[in-house]
Symmetry: C2
Subunit: 101 residues, 2 copies
Amino acid sequence: MIKESYKRFFRTLANEKRLIIIHFLARRGPHNVSSIVQGTRLEQTAVSHNLKRLLACHFVFFRQHGKKRIYTLNTKTIKPLLTLMDSHVNRFCTRCHINNK
Amino acid sequence: MIKESYKRFFRTLANEKRLIIIHFLARRGPHNVSSIVQGTRLEQTAVSHNLKRLLACHFVFFRQHGKKRIYTLNTKTIKPLLTLMDSHVNRFCTRCHINNK
DNA sequence: TTATCATATGATAAAGTTATCATATCATAA
DNA sequence: TTATGATATGATAACTTTATCATATGATAA
């Protein structure tokens, strides 16, 4: 059922560390795990665990490159998603105290 | 910080009952609480609690109409969001066993 | 007013998620 | 092959969210 997919997808996005990883890949392009660890200051195991969840939802892809795995953001989905959220905030939440911190 | 908003928004969407309410309002248009209760078979308190969270994120609005509150979906945000998720599933998750149930 | 229908709120046990250990596996070069 | 650098996995305590009671508040008509 499609509703299950929505739930899984939104759950995957509803996490600080995964959002940090997404933003890192969005700003800095494809990177391997240890670069993501360096760039985000997250633990290696945390990065791997969370990349796995992003991967399961196809929000990222990877290609093997020697010992390394280069992870890439699925920009086709993620870019418009973030754009949509931004414009939602700008339209509907600008004077919303709960968002201004 | 904007990342906090993303987290709150996705968390709000990442819930079965709220998705049920969203889908109900998407299919059937604006309705008051007890109609939503009838239409979705959810508990009244659950519906109220969850509408409150949807409201806090501006995913729904309401207008008072006598004793009733007519809740409306924020289609500007929700429709393209669901469309985006659908096309993501169709593009990237069609052969994905985890989604086919 | 007060009664009543309609909706919201508070509290909290149960269920689900995350963080983070230790450890395993994988790819390659020596 | 074995050593090493890179990444993944498993387990579980700590934390967060949800479900669901009982109860409170709101709007209106009588």
